[in-house]
């Protein structure tokens, strides 16, 4: 019994979940609406797109470091797709624009992946560069601007899967059908990470790239695949977001990378160390979005929220990394 307890207490995840629970209880105490059916559905709705981007970020963080290009890539893919299929004249299947969007994302991911695999630069530098390129294409030659969606894409965004009403106050909440996409993505990526050489290779590369190469992993190919997959998933996130909002809004997602990187780190993913997985993404994203969306409820003034969120990110990261360091085991000789 004792060793199991110790193991649990040693894990970052335990503390993240505890914090989330405590925070939930605090919000519940003030508003009485957190642990209600509508509260939960609203939370699921709020984290949905972030969870998708979280996968992209996690793939990059695991094998190399932060990817800051995904918002631009997601926006670009969604914008191109929407400008082709987002008018009332397109009434065909949603599958076509969905696949087109994925393909554009994959292409962008391949560019990241190729540069990363070929030149071995820091991921931050590479993705900072490609991010500029992606958003440059969008605003420059493509002249992106806000437009309302019509036709299939708009309809797709408004399909709901679950609709609930709070018996106490009559408030309603809906969960979009797109949540299924998120679930399927998580299942696929879980399988890839756990049961394929690609997934294990990703962790091996994050741990020690030279050692992974010596072990017989084709490191370049794995990194290329990881970024291609990441780009594809980012595009799916962008597609979901655009359909959901019902409008093309190219600048909406920009700057979101910081929240996702923070959520991943908070959830227990160690950048470039091959530590952490999908579970860490989920708990990190849920905790951070919970905090962001409910601070007002707790009486924290709006203008103070960024400071508060920032402080929590810093604190969480420091605690997590410190506990990691102390039991890392790679001690100095002597």
């Amino acid at each position: 019994m004792m060793p199991i307890m110790k193991k649990i207490l040693n894990r970052t995840e335990t503390y993240v979940i505890l914090t989330a629970l405590l925070f939930g209880i605090a919000v519940e105490a003030v508003s009485g609406q957190f642990f209600s059916n509508t509260g939960m559905i609203n939370l699921a709705r709020a984290v949905m797109v972030y969870l998708v981007f979280g996968i992209t970020e996690m793939l990059s963080l695991t094998c190399a470091g932060p990817d800051v290009s995904y918002p631009a890539l997601a926006s670009l893919s969604a914008f191109i797709t929407a400008s082709w299929f987002g008018s009332a004249s397109y009434q065909g299947s949603i599958i076509v624009p969905f696949l087109v969007c994925m393909a554009i994302g994959a292409l962008g991911g391949m560019i990241n992946g190729y540069i990363m695999a070929r030149f071995d630069f820091p991921s931050l530098i590479v993705t900072l560069g490609t991010s500029s390129v992606f958003s440059g294409i969008m605003y420059g030659p493509l002249k992106a601007s806000n437009t309302i969606l019509h036709g299939t894409m708009a309809e797709f965004g408004s399909i709901n899967m679950i609709a609930v009403t709070n018996p106490e106050n009559g408030l309603k909440a809906n969960l979009p059908a797109q949540f299924l996409i998120v679930t399927v993505l998580y299942l696929i990526v879980f399988f890839l990470l756990r049961y394929t050489m690609f997934g294990r290779g990703l962790y091996a590369i994050g741990s020690d790239k030279a050692a992974a190469e010596r072990s017989g992993f084709k490191t370049g190919r794995i990194i290329f695949l990881a970024y291609t997959l990441g780009g594809t998933i980012a595009a799916i996130g962008g597609f979901m977001y655009t359909c959901n909002v019902g409008a093309i809004s190219p600048s909406d997602l920009m700057g979101g990378e910081m929240i996702i990187i923070a959520a991943c780190t908070l959830g227990g993913i160690r950048p470039g160390a091959g530590i952490g997985g999908l579970f860490n993404v989920i708990i990190g994203v849920v905790l951070l979005i919970m905090i962001q969306n409910n601070l007002l409820m707790l009486g924290i003034p709006l203008y103070f929220q960024d400071v508060f969120t920032g402080a929590i990110i810093l604190l969480g990261t420091i605690v997590a990394i410190n506990s990691q360091r102390s039991r890392n085991g790679i001690k100095k000789n002597g």
Binding site: T196, R200, A211, R214, G329
Partner: protein, 495 residues
């Protein structure tokens, strides 16, 4: 040429303009321990990387079990039964022991989907071979160094390896752990495995090897039976010059002048009740294995630890060495064990590295740095210590281990210390440079400098020190003096 399990013929490899391997041939038979030796940069690592498929040779061929190959990929090399155990073990600390043991095999199979059941079986088979008791689920990050070493060895055995290359596998092991490793090597040898043992620790080489190959400047200068070569010839082949010590016996020092003395010094969690005396003009040895407290003692004398009780006296006066700055004021210098992270600015030129310890001396009163003076001084040190290449603007990281160590020495000697503390002064330094460093230390000691050497290299302690404190478990286990300083006595007191 094909009677060996593994042979290479006329291998050439260049990087840019540097000819790293020139027409190298060697062969290794099953059931033999073949020592591959050579100074840093002699090409032995390059050859290993070619055999393991990491580099492609420019020309020449590799023969495994009678089959010839022009080049191999890492996965092919593993499939041909070649396994390399690297100095850093090349394990994945974030993964479990089970996965570490079996992941190479999975990668070599070339399957896209992995099976945890199969991996478990592979891992169990591997640990059985060397009777290793280890928690399969533990993360490698949580293992001790010795357990990691054993895990790395077990991993090499997964594939019914025909050839196991151990690249400086003993570098971070204590003597006890080395003994364990040798037992495993003997067992493997009996099973007919060919072992390539890369090391430049002379005592280990002669203890374990059947045959010896020595590289110098990218060429195979000699391949012979271990019994056909002695230590002097070995050193000669490695360095291309006769190594002769200028100082035959350790310096005795002036016992009437005690430069530094500790009385019942205790540092929490590191060592306790340590009393030593350092005479003027001697090289005092602190021997002891990893974790015995020797490093901590050395660091304490340089102001890097909080003293719990006891005192330090300098020439009879009680002093407090509370910080590194204080130690420097007291004219104490310290050469750390890990020069790469603690001793050098790898990305900076030699000039900056040498000047950094005494910038105040090289600056005007107003605080302006005299670049010229620093440059001239560095050039002098390059000459005095024969650092090569002789360019003060070279980045420290471009130098070989031995030359890097000389730079670290230079930067402290430039402060003109009266007491110099060296921790593992020749770790990873090859024979030629080692002797240069010994000669230097002897020279400075005979001019009146007092030197402390903390080391687990028994031969080094024996060669340099007249008086030795042997530490074990945080305490001084024995004091040895003069004739008492023998290999036997040093080993017995430290284990």
């Amino acid at each position: 040429m094909n009677d060996g399990v593994l042979s290479v013929e006329n291998i050439n490899k260049s990087f840019g303009g540097v000819h790293a391997l020139k027409d190298v041939s060697m062969q290794i038979r099953g059931g033999e321990v073949h020592c591959l030796s050579g100074e840093n940069g002699s090409g032995k690592s390059t050859l290993i990387k070619i055999i393991s498929g990491y580099y492609k040779p420019d020309s020449g061929k590799i023969c495994v079990d009678g089959n010839e190959y022009r080049e191999m990929t890492p996965a092919e090399s593993i499939n041909h039964g070649i396994q390399v155990i690297y100095q850093d073990f090349s394990l994945f600390p974030n993964l479990s022991v089970m996965e570490n043991l079996s992941i190479n095999a999975e990668a070599a199979r070339g399957s896209k989907i992995i099976s945890y059941k199969r991996m478990r079986e592979t891992a169990l088979r591997a640990v059985e071979k060397i009777n290793l008791k280890i928690d399969m689920k533990a993360k490698v990050a949580d293992l001790s160094v010795a357990d990691r070493q054993m895990t790395a060895i077990a991993r090499a055995l997964v594939h019914d390896a025909k050839v196991i290359i151990m690249d400086e596998a003993t570098a971070s092991l204590t003597r006890n752990e080395v003994n364990c490793l040798f037992k495993v090597i003997h067992q493997l040898k009996e099973e007919g495995v060919a072992i390539v043992f890369v090391s430049h620790k002379l005592d280990e080489v002669f203890e374990i090897s059947d045959s010896i190959t020595i590289f110098r400047n990218g060429m195979n200068v000699v391949s012979c039976k271990a019994s056909e070569i002695n230590e002097e010839r070995f050193s000669y082949y490695m360095t291309g010059r006769e190594i002769q010590s200028t100082q035959e016996k350790p310096l005795v020092g002036d016992s009437s002048r005690i430069m530094l003395e500790t009385k019942n010094l205790t540092v929490e969690g590191a060592f306790e009740d340590v009393s030593i005396q350092l005479y003027k003009g001697e090289i005092f040895g602190i021997a002891g294995q990893l974790g015995s407290g020797r490093t901590e003692l050395a660091m304490t004398l340089f102001g890097m630890a909080d003293i719990k009780s006891g005192e330090i006296l300098m020439e009879g006066n009680p002093i407090k060495i509370s910080s590194v700055q204080k130690a420097k004021q007291l004219k104490i210098g310290y050469v750390p064990e890990d020069r790469l992270t603690e001793g050098l600015f790898l990305e900076q030129a030699l000039v900056e590295n040498v000047a950094v310890t005494h910038l105040a001396d090289l600056s005007s009163k107003a605080g302006f740095y005299h670049k010229k003076e620093a440059e001239e001084e560095t050039t002098q040190w390059i000459d005095t210590l024969s650092i090569s290449p002789r360019n003060r603007n070279n980045l420290a990281q471009k130098l070989s281990g031995g030359n890097q160590q000389k730079v670290v020495l230079a930067k402290w000697l430039a402060c003109n210390p009266s007491i110099l503390i060296l921790n593992g002064p020749t770790v990873g330094v090859d024979i030629g440079a080692k002797q240069d460093i010994y000669d230097l230390l002897n020279q400075y000691a005979s001019q009146g400098m007092s030197i402390i050497i903390a080391s687990d290299d028994i031969l080094e302690i024996k060669k340099l020190c007249n008086r030795v404190a042997v530490m074990k478990g945080g305490k001084i286990n024995a004091f040895l003096c003069g004739e008492e300083v023998t290999e036997q006595a040093l080993i017995e007191a430290s284990i």
